[in-house]
């Protein structure tokens, strides 16, 4: 599949605000809280043949069929050695009226991140494709990568990797 999940807009915005932080392969990431629809526990995922490799499958969200994107696969990480744990959960994002679930290792907290704590994404040295990063927040000695939901879900980028 070469079509983008959603198009990525070129916008400049202030980045300070509330974020939902979560853990993936022992690193901390965050989505802007405004893009988060809800958090659900991991549930039986139906794999969809011939769909994009980062699509783990589809689940039933109260009668709606929504796709689940595997964030580890999205960032070319290996599957978790311990498999799914009780902490594994799905963050349902609402990006331009599309509901998409993101499977993550664990959700941490909702926290306020001030503009002053945010630095632009590093040009190298990250496991994550930096084009998906809004920035890097450094507060109380912890580094959190702020993800751009639009870009994470723009699968056309992956197709060309």
């Amino acid at each position: 599949m070469t079509a983008p999940l959603v198009e990525s807009p070129a916008t400049t915005r202030t980045l300070g605000g509330k974020y939902l932080t979560f853990v993936l392969a022992n690193e901390e990431y965050a989505f802007e809280i405004l893009t988060v629809h809800e958090i659900i526990g991991i549930m039986a995922v139906t794999p969809v043949p011939h769909s994009h490799p980062v699509i783990r499958g589809v689940v039933n969200l109260r009668g709606k069929v929504i796709p689940i994107v595997d964030l580890r696969r999205r960032f070319n990480m290996t599957p978790p050695p311990e498999g799914e744990t009780p902490e594994t959960c799905i963050i349902v994002l609402n990006v331009r009226n599309l509901l998409v679930g993101i499977a993550v290792d664990a959700v941490s907290e909702v926290r306020m991140i001030n503009e002053a704590e945010i630095e632009p994404p590093p040009s190298f040295g990250s496991d994550v494709d930096t084009s998906c990063l809004l920035g890097v927040a450094n507060s109380e000695g912890k580094v959190r990568m702020l993800l751009d939901a639009d870009k994470v879900l723009a699968l056309d980028v992956i197709a060309t990797l």
Binding site: T46, V48, H52, G63
Partner: protein, 691 residues
């Protein structure tokens, strides 16, 4: 105000200084009061009415013309005064200046200066959106009425319907500042008004001009959204010439041969005005036709809400089914519980019928357009065709009506272009010169049948075979039955998109048409007799809201196969399965040899049965596409509500969507036809290639 006299009117007239519009309006109101006064003699009232008519026409008082306008009013008033003074004495018929027969909206004048479909800045957008929808309805109605007029040119009610469409569009668009539309509709209305009055016969160029006027208005209305977005589109080239032709239908070019009425050769059709007296007078009949609005109050509901409702009721039905089948409920000892569940079940079923009915619409909408297509195609190819329709009130799910448009268009085009012969060929074959194409829609159980029947030459096996070989679809047709050969017209690459483009404006090949129908769980059947004609049948479910599905297990996964597409299932003998060189696995069953598609390979599922004789073969598809799918196990039938997999995933090859199964997990619904086609595309039927 019985005391008001003509003198009061004269006084009001004298008060009319040039440029004083308010004074003119005051005069007009006085005149109206006098006209309504029945104690005045009728010639006086007639003359006063003339004065009002002049005052009501703003064109009479535009700029420098104002003096002339006032002069006309003065003359009319003088006639009235003469009559009043002469009392009962006979007065010669008043010599009144020619009174404009009809008020020309100012818009019609403004239009000439600009050739854009412009919308004023202060336009009320929501009103304009309403207008677009309403104008479309009126134009559809006008088109249907014009088609009725083709066979019954003196149908007064139909003429009225066409007139009313133009009239209403003119009136409403003038309010909305859509001056280009108001101006054009005015010309069209004018011509139809003359037909209505018996001045002009519905013959010669008039029908053609009417059709073209409807088309042009449709184009203009369709361009409104663009204008609203701030890009006023240019008016079509035809705008000016057609406006002129509508005002002067008598001088339009020599009439073209007509589709239906050309029997007996087209006698020189004279200028219609000369012949008007020969035609039966226009009879105004009490309305009976479909255009009569219903008296029941209606509520507008957003379609997405309606869809959601139907979907939720579908879920309710499925939940109810699971409840009814639950072991505890079925346990004989729970007599009261079973009774209550049965009662709830009855209510849920009724609710289901009711909710499905909400979304049902008559096929009429999709069919009306076809009459026009037949007419245009026949005219172009010099054929004479009567097109009749039966069962257009048959109702189907709203979502299906739109999807039917392409298949119907293809069928009709096929029938007219390839089915019906030219008049001379028909006469030679001992048939009437006039061919017939008949469309029949009917409901059979929970399926809808749409048949297109023509009495043409029938499908020509030789030609189809030759074309299929030329296109490289087959190498030889030796072992093929007629049905198999006819089925080739649905093969990819057989029909080209260009053939349809000129009629429909969009190009879709016959193979895509069939694929779309299959995706809707429909099927197509062709039967044909050489020299006698053909019957194309489209069969569709009444609704897509609920699918009867067979749940099958493939490895650890479950898939849903629409029951309507399953012909039968069987467990094969090991010896019945063989491998034909280069053609992959085949199975011999009930006298036919079918290709085998191992679903676990096509769907990349691991852990499924490898031995064909260990699983179940499911025969699916029609005609040449009959194929046996290998699955591990049949888990049972269930009604499911089909849902899209979501825009984020998009369309996935081999799947039509998903549905929630009894345990709350999502099951995927197989796109049987696509899986079959994909398996044919690969040399060894091993799998569908990922996109």
């Amino acid at each position: 105000m019985a005391t008001l006299t003509i003198d009061d009117a004269i006084a009001a007239f004298v008060a009319c200084e040039p440029g004083d519009e308010a004074a003119r309006r005051k005069l007009r109101e006085r005149l109206w009061t006098l006209v309504a006064d029945r104690s005045l003699a009728s010639p006086i009232r007639t003359a006063l009415a003339d004065a009002i008519a002049v005052l009501d026409d703003p064109a009479e008082f535009k700029g420098a013309k104002e003096a002339d306008g006032l002069e006309k009013v003065r003359q009319a008033l003088e006639v009235a005064v003469d009559h009043a003074e002469c009392g009962d004495r006979a007065v010669s018929e008043p010599e009144v200046p020619s009174v404009p027969k009809e008020f020309v909206p100012e818009a019609a004048v403004a239009r000439a200066s600009t050739m854009l479909l412009a919308i004023p800045d202060d336009a009320d957008r929501s009103l304009i959106e309403d207008f677009i929808a309403e104008a479309r309805e009126y134009l559809e109605g006008a088109e249907a009425a014009l088609l009725r007029l083709e066979s019954a040119p003196d149908d007064g009610e139909a003429i009225n319907d066409v007139f009313r469409a133009f009239h209403t569009i003119k009136g409403t668009s003038s309010f909305l500042g859509l001056s280009a539309i108001a101006g054009f509709a005015h010309h069209a209305e004018d011509m139809l008004d003359r037909v209505r009055a018996g001045e002009l016969a519905f013959a010669g160029q008039v029908p053609e001009l009417s059709f073209r006027a409807v088309d042009l208005l449709k184009t203009l209305v369709a361009a409104i959204p663009q204008a609203l977005a701030g890009h006023a589109p240019e008016l079509p080239d035809e705008y000016e010439p057609l406006s002129h032709a509508l005002s002067h239908p008598e001088e339009a070019a020599a009439p073209r041969a007509r589709t239906v009425e050309s029997e007996g050769g087209s006698a020189p059709e004279p200028s219609a005005a000369d012949h008007a007296p020969d035609h039966a007078p226009v009879v105004m009949r009490a309305g009976t036709a479909a255009s009569v609005p219903t008296a029941d109050p209606l509520v507008k509901v957003r379609t997405d809400k309606l869809d959601r409702l139907v979907e939720m009721v579908g879920e309710l039905v499925i939940a109810q089914t699971m409840l009814v089948q639950d072991g505890v409920v079925r346990d004989a000892s729970n007599h009261h519980l079973a009774q209550k569940v049965r009662h709830a079940d009855k209510i849920v079923r009724e609710l289901q019928d009711l909710s499905l009915g909400l979304r049902m619409v008559p096929l009429k909408g999709a069919i009306t357009k076809l009459a026009r297509v037949v007419r245009d195609l026949a005219t172009r190819s010099g054929k004479q065709i009567t097109f009749t329709v039966a069962g257009e009130d048959t109702e189907v799910d709203r979502t299906l009506v739109d999807l039917l448009a392409d298949p119907l268009l293809h069928m009709v085009r096929n029938a007219v272009d390839h089915g019906i012969e030219t008049p001379s060929e028909r006469l030679k074959a001992g048939k009437p010169a006039m061919g017939t194409v008949r469309l029949e829609a009917s409901q059979a159980g929970d399926r809808v049948l749409v048949k297109l029947i023509d009495d043409g030459r029938g499908l020509q096996r030789d030609k189809i075979v030759a074309k299929a070989i030329e296109k490289g679809i087959i190498t030889s047709a030796e072992s093929m039955s007629d049905t198999e050969v006819f089925d080739l017209i649905f093969a990819p690459g057989f029909s080209t998109a260009e053939q349809v483009t000129e009629v429909s404006g969009r190009g879709v090949g016959m193979d895509v048409v069939r694929r779309n129908l299959m995706a809707m769980r429909g099927r197509t059947v062709i039967s044909s007799k050489a020299g006698k004609g053909s019957v194309f049948t489209i069969e569709l479910p009444l609704t897509l809201a609920i699918t009867d599905g067979m749940i099958v297990r493939v490895g650890a996964e479950r898939f849903i196969v629409p029951t309507a597409q399953i012909r039968r299932c069987f467990r094969p003998e090991p010896s019945a399965v063989f491998t034909a060189q280069g053609k992959g696995e085949m199975v011999q069953t009930a006298g036919e040899v079918l290709p085998v598609v191992r679903l676990h390979r096509a769907l990349r599922v691991v852990g499924a049965q490898e031995g064909v004789d260990q699983g179940i073969l499911m025969v699916v598809g029609d005609g040449n596409n009959r194929t046996a799918f290998l699955v591990d196990e049949l888990l049972g039938q269930q009604q499911v509500v089909a849902k899209p997999l979501g825009d984020a995933i998009g369309r996935v090859q081999g799947l039509t969507g998903g549905a929630i199964l009894g345990d709350g997990r999502v099951g995927l619904i197989l796109d049987v036809d696509e899986l079959v086609v994909a398996s044919r595309g690969t040399s060894s039927a091993t799998g569908v290639q990922a996109a």
